[in-house]
Amino acid sequence: MFKFRDISIRNKLILMQVFTSVLVLFVVFGVFIYTDINSYKVRKKDSIVSLANVIGTNSISTLQFQDQEAATKMLAELHNVAPEIIHAGITDANGQVFASYSKPGEETFKIPRVLNGKAYVFINNQLFVSNPIMNNDQILGRVFLEIELSDLQQIKEYKYELAAVLLSFAIVFSFLIALLIQSYISRRLLQLVKTMKKVGKTGDYNKIITDDGKDEIATLIQVFNKLMQQIKENIEKKDQFIGIASHELKTPLTSIKGYVEMLDLMQTEPQKKQFIQKALSNVNKLERLVKDLLDVSKIQSGQLQLEMQEFNIDSLLNETIESVEMVSPTHKIIRTNDCDNQLIIGDRQRIEQVLLNLLSNAIKYSPGENLIEVECEKTEKELIIKIRDFGIGIAKEEQLNIFERFYRTKDLSMHISGFGLGLYICRDIIRRHYGKIWVESTGKGSVFHFSLPIKHSLQTQQTVV
């Protein structure tokens, strides 16, 4: 359904201007046509009334002498004097028709009832006039005239046509003028909207709009610029923080990890070695958490950069599966098919991160099971990787939420460690590759899917963006 609210400001302004000018012109033309036709009617009525007066004066003697023949003859003359008269009639003091005239081809004269005591009346395109015949304040009878106003119709038609033509021109002109004027207002607004959309999409907060106006739109633009400036400053601060945090958190971690690894290499006593390995695995866990937190900060400030290159998805899958199996010997990860050595353009390290995340999730959420399946599906435009586990599955209402930041499963029957950032990061990485990530789960186990565009379609998408 058409809603005025939904159309663009530009079209609103045009519509409003066209509508206003057409409405004003419509009223003006209406008034003009009405007064024009009215004055024509008044003039016509006046001339017919005076004609009736003349007829009345001339028929006084015929009425006094009851000379019907003379009266009829006089009326017959009307055919030459005023051919627009259809019927004319003279009645005597009793209201009886004394003499009458009808234009050839018309019916015979009848006293027009439409007058109903009035001196004149317009009905359709006809004028009826009734005028008393007076002699020394005595009413001798009446003159009735019925006139066909054939030119009234023509005048009306002419005026209407003229008005219609002028209105059409007015619509065209007001549209053109509106088109010019609206651009002054809407151009600036649309520029603002366009820039805002672009900023929203690209996260490039360096966009500043120059505008030297002093109206509300200028204020809006100034506020926008100011906000952009503030956001930029905040991002710079955040970047600095990420940089510092990155360095300050990772540097001690590097030492801890290195020294514990050294201890592990040097230690042979089983009990001590076991303790050291526990410390080491927790250091690794901590390292992953720090990395995730920093990744999320980067995602949020639009700083996560991808290093695009062409790579073979099959070799990446094999390498990743091998490294996951090395640290998680409880599960066997099998590939149900291969991806025909499909080449993908993307950030190999980041895609590996996604795979590692999904595979370690699959292991984490399927305790007691020992199988993970990795499947490859190829369509014309994209490659879909599916990672299937046979674990606890994901309730339908949770399937969308799991990709949100800090989301933790409501299923408290198992304790799962982590911040709940992994899938959020995965989703961002896949989205930046113009792909999709989703989960399907029907009770027993879940299947995580992610799609990556195949080379040619990625390139076209990039040019669009």
Binding site: T254, K257, Y259, E261, K291
Partner: protein, 118 residues
């Protein structure tokens, strides 16, 4: 015995790498201040330089670039390492051989070093 110059402003990491490489039969010179690099190059004449990117006042990448311009040092392999993993994207600009993000696995570090010496 291959000679390796390690530069890092963090004393603990410096010692860690020094000990680990010594245990693996490398001749190691550890330097914590970037100002000492020039001297170490001349005196120690390393076969490989393991260089931290943020050196408190200097950028490892700039040092690497400078090395590439000098005749004596232009052919010495450089491995950069940094806690900022994004730095890995810029190693081509300064013609470093490899980049290792911190925290690193000792085995990984060792393997990378062995790729460029021997």
């Amino acid at each position: 015995m291959n000679k390796i110059l390690v530069v890092d402003d963090d004393q603990d990491i410096l010692m860690l790498v020094q000990v680990m490489l010594s245990m693996n039969n490398f001749n190691v010179e550890a330097v914590s201040r970037w100002e000492e690099i020039d001297n170490a190059m001349k005196v120690f004449k390393p076969d490989l330089v393991l260089l931290d990117v943020s050196l408190g006042g200097a950028d490892g990448r700039d040092i690497c670039k400078k090395m590439r311009l000098e005749k004596n040092t232009e052919d010495i392999p450089v491995i950069l390492f940094s806690a900022n993993a994004e730095m890995g994207n810029s190693i081509h600009d300064c013609k470093a051989q490899a980049f290792i993000p911190k925290p690193f696995e000792l085995s990984n570090l060792l393997q990378t070093i062995r790729t460029y010496v021997n």
